[in-house]
Symmetry: C2
Subunit: 365 residues, 2 copies
DNA sequence: CTGAAAGCGCTTACAG
DNA sequence: CTGAAAGCGCTTACAG
């Protein structure tokens, strides 16, 4: 490996001081036009390249960020990362992905800021390494209360809108017995469940119709070994680094399990809002293998808006929170912090409906 | 943001020199046990963390790598990246993904080495920025001749084995009229096509059966606008940075287009080996929407071994080149270079068959 | 065992 | 307009 020229080499070759080389290269301060051009010419011929590490040491900036996510395979995480890395790139930054979430290691990393695509990970970070390590933090959160508890910048998923928008859509299509498919445990599951419940109870009161809400909910869980690779569902689960298999899309499995439960149940639901699109697809696959047709026999709606919906067997109808956009936004907020542009602490995002082929219109005309 | 303590602050607080602090922190050189412990205690209380940038400037190492790929969405790229980032992490390195492949920017990046998951990108780099910028390069290549033309480390996909293994598998299942589905242009398409052709001509000679080979090949292409986001098929196509849509899985589209061509054709093929799994799935989707059943009416085999085959409607039978493993290997070769472990220049990999549900056994018993 | 000093490659006030 | 010098935060041969 050829040793690269330094500013001292250039200065020597040009017979000037290193300061002048700096001024020429950076086009800063006063410098005679002739000498500047001569220096640049010589620098070019020597293949001189300013050492980025030295620049960073000087500026105390690396223009590098770190993103913590438990994987890069699940749709939400992949799309979040895609948005984040593109946004960073556009503004001259780079992003690392730390899939293992070993926060301690951040002390060895050359980064200016930390991004989380999930508040549970952020919480853990803030309460451990973050206690005495001071880097700006941006977190995409499902939980508005998180932003009160922690003095970090937030990009917020408006779950109230998400769930209600989904229910509205289904109501408009004539559905009344609208159930949910949830992962059994998980804070974010509970957040969406409570919003659903509040809304459905309201509907019961307003309409005077007696509905047994419990009977509309399907809660599924997968075994621990299946769950091994999906810390994003429960970040307290340390991701096992089995060498051979990172392909376990946990949400699909949860959806399949939910399908089994559905098939054995007597639920009167005509439509099911699933916690996310991946779960919804697992569910669809599961019930269709057993002869139940979607949407003819049961309408299914997802949440997220994953890329794959364009490519899977049936395009899902979903409430899109646009994970790619969440990644983009989080990164831009981070960079705004770093560049003293004073971004807002709370940045709400809005979901929107993406129509597909999985909801049947049962309105009576 | 609280200013973090430096080694000078610690030295002052402890009443020693900065050199002693270094020795204590790094556990190097001679230092009295007592003073060492006292220094470490004080450092800890001050929340001292060695500045990683300064360490890098000193060592001229960043433990950071850059990976060039045209996207993170296509299965091959996603899995390659997944393997690469995990491998790097395990050895204490980090990887950037540069999706835009603007090679010039590498001069500003804090990286020790460069990885390519596609030789065409590497070729472009080597002939431009690489000419006078000296960083070690590792490339995963489809083309053995690439390794002779360029003095860089290679991880090689053994396409000879890949294609012949696929044909062998299909022959074993009784197929003789074995065709291919290819993207119309593309160097790697041609590589696999030629191997297929050689093999099939050999079979014609050996068996004495007269087969019209041309009639077995389907070549599909998609329009330029569709192709916009998939520079990986042709790296000379600059990736457009449209803001709203990175979801275009080009290979799916090519497969769909191939399905249209297939439906209009009179090919006598009983089995088709597709350039990759994504194309194969697009093809399957395309023909099945038109009432052709896979594998009952036509057997389909892919190449790659994508994660999604576990989750798509039908598990594909494929020749796995294990993209995740290619990412892992490339990264380990890179790190071996950096750590003077003298890895081999040519690192062959072996494909293996993954059975699925898309090939029909038509042997006569 | 410990400290003063030079060095990693750069920038930027300060003098001239 | 230009250079010598101090500084970014660290390491490490060299004296003592």
């Amino acid at each position: 490996m050829k040793k690269t020229a330094t500013r001292a080499d250039v200065a020597r070759a040009a017979g000037v001081s290193v300061a002048s080389v700096s001024r020429a290269v950076n086009n800063s301060g006063y410098i005679k036009k002739d000498t500047k051009e001569r220096i640049l010419e010589i620098a070019k011929n020597m293949g001189y390249n300013p050492n980025p590490i030295a620049l960073s040491l000087q500026s105390q900036k690396t223009r590098q960020l770190i993103l913590y996510q438990n994987d890069i395979i699940t749709s939400y995480n992949l799309q979040f990362f895609n948005g984040a890395t593109r946004a960073a790139y556009k503004r001259g930054y780079s992003i690392f992905l730390d899939i293992n979430c070993e926060f301690d290691k951040i002390r060895r990393h050359l980064v200016d800021g930390v991004i989380f695509s999930l508040e549970a990970l952020a919480e853990k970070y803030i309460n451990t390494v973050g206690v005495n390590y001071y880097l700006p933090v941006v977190v995409t959160s499902n939980d508005a209360s998180f932003s009160f508890a922690h003095p970090v910048h937030n990009v917020l998923i408006d779950n109230h809108k998400v769930v209600n928008m989904g229910i509205d859509y289904l109501m408009n299509k004539g559905h009344r017995k609208i159930g949910m498919v949830l992962q059994d445990k998980g804070k974010n599951s509970e957040i969406r469940y409570r919003i659903w419940k509040t809304r459905m109870e309201q509907y019961k009161r307003d309409s005077g119709i007696n509905i047994d809400l419990d009977e509309l909910v399907i809660r599924a869980e997968i075994s621990n070994s299946e769950n091994m690779h999906i810390g994003h569902l429960d970040p307290t689960l340390r991701l096992q680094s089995s060498d051979d298999n990172y392909t376990n899309y946990a949400s699909f499995s949860i959806g399949k399990r939910a399908a089994e439960i559905y098939l054995k149940s007597n639920t009167s639901a005509t439509a099911l809002l699933c916690f996310n699109d991946d779960i919804a697809y697992g569910f669809i696959r599961g019930v269709e293998k057993n002869g139940v047709r979607v949407p003819e026999d049961i309408s299914v709606m997802g949440i997220d808006g994953i890329y794959l919906r364009e490519w899977l067997e049936k395009k899902i109808t979903t409430v899109s929170i646009d994970p790619e956009n969440l990644g983009t936004l989080s990164t831009n907020v981070m960079i705004d912090i770093l560049e003293d542009k004073n971004p807002k602490y709370i940045n709400w995002t809005s979901p929107k409906i993406l129509e597909g082929e999985t909801v049947k219109d049962i309105t009576v005309r």
